[in-house]
Amino acid sequence: MTRARHIFASFLAAWCVNTAAAQGFLRLERDSIPLFRGVAVGFDVAGAAQLAMSDYGQIEGMARVNLHDQYFPTVEVGLGRASHKDDEVTGISYHTSAPYLRLGVDVNLMKKKHTGNRVFAGLRYAFTYYNVDIDCKPFPDPVWQWDTTYGVKDQSCYQHWAEVLFGIDAKVAGPLHLGWSIRYRLRLAHDDGPTGKVWYVPGYGIQENSRLGYSFNAIIDI
């Protein structure tokens, strides 16, 4: 009983220390800088480059509010697109194009927060509702050998996911910033439709290897 009480007391003490540290980390600095420091808009160059160089990717823009150079409530809106035609091995074509939305906040981790350069950690909640077309050139049934047609059109799907991100944002010239981020994604809820699985989810990426994502943003303070 006493041993259990000791363990509980130790746990409580550790929790109190951690909470105090967390409050210190999140507390708004007291200085002469105003709370509202402006709005910035940006464009994800990496997603657009990916779309140009492969058969999937996204066009994504973002807007964020600068609160005291410390907190950055952020909205990211994009159009994710995949157009994979006649796979050379399987003959499968896959098409989807749909918008997605991410909402979240970044926190500037720099000790000197007002330099214009930032190291930040952030959280996002994201979702997309999209339709998928999957089809395949007619192929013979492996046993009966009759030609088989395979495909679905406008299959309705959705996905909600969360992202934890870490990034850097550097002031380049005037109002221009360049920043990149690495993101860990976690699916919260999804419906992939009656075919069982989907390949590309707008804003999330390829299902099998999209746990880690990235972005490279050109940002302008307005």
Binding site: A46, Y94, P140, G196
Partner: protein, 156 residues
Amino acid sequence: MGLMLLFLCCACSSIDCPVQNTVATQYAICDGEGNATTLTDTLWIISRRSDGTDTLLNSLVEAQSFTLPISYSHPEDTLLFIMHGTDGIWTLDSVFLKKEDIPHFESVDCSAHFFHRLTNVRCTHYAIDSVTIENPEVDYDQSKTHLRIFFGGMVR
């Protein structure tokens, strides 16, 4: 830095198709009370195929269960059961298996497959008493019995 990351990410890809990707129906042979039993006769199962061949199952004997392929996209499979009894008598029965065919997708890197939902089964009754659907969903799971087939007097 961001572009370097992009190139690194584009350079890697993986194909993760299921290893067990056979979709087939599992039949359990049962006696009159529904208990698993062993077929004593020799059984052939044939179905008409487009390439002129027809055998799906060849000379099955002393079996308690068997596996049959299921067509990708025909609304009804017609199977002819040919039995040769220990008494030398030949018997023919037809089994008609109705189903819905559901395209199944894993990835663009994995070949197209169909899952199926069995909706009805009927048969003639020379050697077969009846066929019942035990589990209508036919997919990659080969551990479940989809149909029970009851033979009259050809089991022990």
